[in-house]
Amino acid sequence: MTTMTLSRRGLSFWAQLVFTLLVCALLMAPVAMSMLAGVTANYFVGIKSGLTLRWVEEVWRLYADTIFLSLRIAFACLGCTLLLGVPAAYALARRQGAVARAVEELLMMPVAVPGLATALALIVTYGGVGDLRRSWLFILIGHVLFTLPFMVRAVLAVMTSIDLKTLEEGAASLGAGFARRFFSVVLPNCRSGILAGSLMVLTLSVGEFNLTWLLHTPMTKTLPVGLADSYASLRIEIGSAYTLVFFIMIVPSLILLQWLARHDRSAP
């Protein structure tokens, strides 16, 4: 009889391994193909047409400004979510009542409501206010709304897992005022949550499309907007090369995030 124990690897083990590998192949095949297509001279002919960086250069020529704008928005968004989200998470961690839970629930709403709806709501409300519609700040507002819940949740998770109260009382008994306690006791103890939240915010902001597509203007095109543009109108090699650039941008933060998750699990 087949069992699923570690010691005996029966038919069931191999069947599940093959299944899992097939799922992995389904996910990775198009990634590998698009990476390859991005550096292939002629995708229709295939790899024998030779490898080239021509398409990546083409992407840089056509879309460098979208890459810089996306980075600018992502880091501005990170600044905003740190300034807003960390104090908010602290307030929510200190208060465990029904009101705090309701506030937390409300703050998560921009993630639950589709970006398309949020973007339409922002346009009908603020589209006519001054030059906001044409400014990159309009996109930033959308990104802050969408990413703030991730920062709050990541920091809140760490804050509720450590004994914040005892730590603070200890510091207070030594005469530390609130500001001193917050910056030298609370923040250092939450750095893994702050780091995880920050990486999430950067990755999500760089890839955000649902909101951004409606919020952008011809002068404020972000990377995903440029991607949609290239997929629709340019040859497959350029779309692939552009996707390759996007992968290279998000991979470092993804690796760090996975490392953080493993690190957390192995910690007592």
């Binding site: 389904l26 996910l27 639950a112 949020t118 009908v124």
Partner: protein, 281 residues
Amino acid sequence: MSVTARLDPQSRDSLRLAALLAPTAALFAAFFLLPLARLFVIGGGGDEGWAVYATILTNRNHLDSLIATLLLSAGVTAVTLAVSTVAGLFLVRHRFPGHAILVAMLTFPLAFPGVVIGFMVIMMAGRQGLIGAITQALTGSKLVFAYSMTGLFLGYVYFSIPRVILTVMAAAEKLAPRLEEAARSLGASPWRVVADVILPALKPALLSAGAIAFATSMGAFGTAFTLATRINVLPMTIYTEFTLQANIATAAALSFLLGLITWAALALARSFAGSSVAAAG
């Protein structure tokens, strides 16, 4: 300063916490709650008045689009849960060489935006795609289905698998192995152990992961936009009403209702599962 100095420490603390939350609350009220309320009002301010909110059921096109989106999302949720539960449980219960790399590859697409997912579908099932090349070599005719509802289905399953696998793995790691051993020592077959011990224990995680997959498939826009603007799902209907027809009231009403559906799906799952749930993309 003199005001806070006179307060007792406890109310001073409350005041301080309120002050720390205030900027977030202000931003949230100004840029989310107010705009959503405005969206609701504008929805009712068109030619059809408040009746526009009923057209999602009475207008043939809107109803078709709603039903198609619901069916698509339900199908995506079912398939993703089945696939990810098998793979996720397997990865938690077995260690073998290459395990970490396999997990990393299975969760890599987590951060892909909808447009990139759409491009991945084109790479697989598009005109120059892998499936087309294979079927042409085997049967002589090219199978291309990227630019249709089937392609969208494939895209959403692709998008949801990494997220659900991670949730299943996190939940399965917390399962007590002793419960499983007890069931086995009482003579339960492997299938009975899975059906009676493991799946019930995973239920909260599966509920919340399923709700995320459902809500994302309902509200996502980028993948459909990349594949074909003719795919009749609710987000595309809203987009068409807004940009091509300039029918802002209808677009506003439909997106308000869509937001209500996805929010309700997630809130419902959260009340059953008790953990925080969120969609993305």
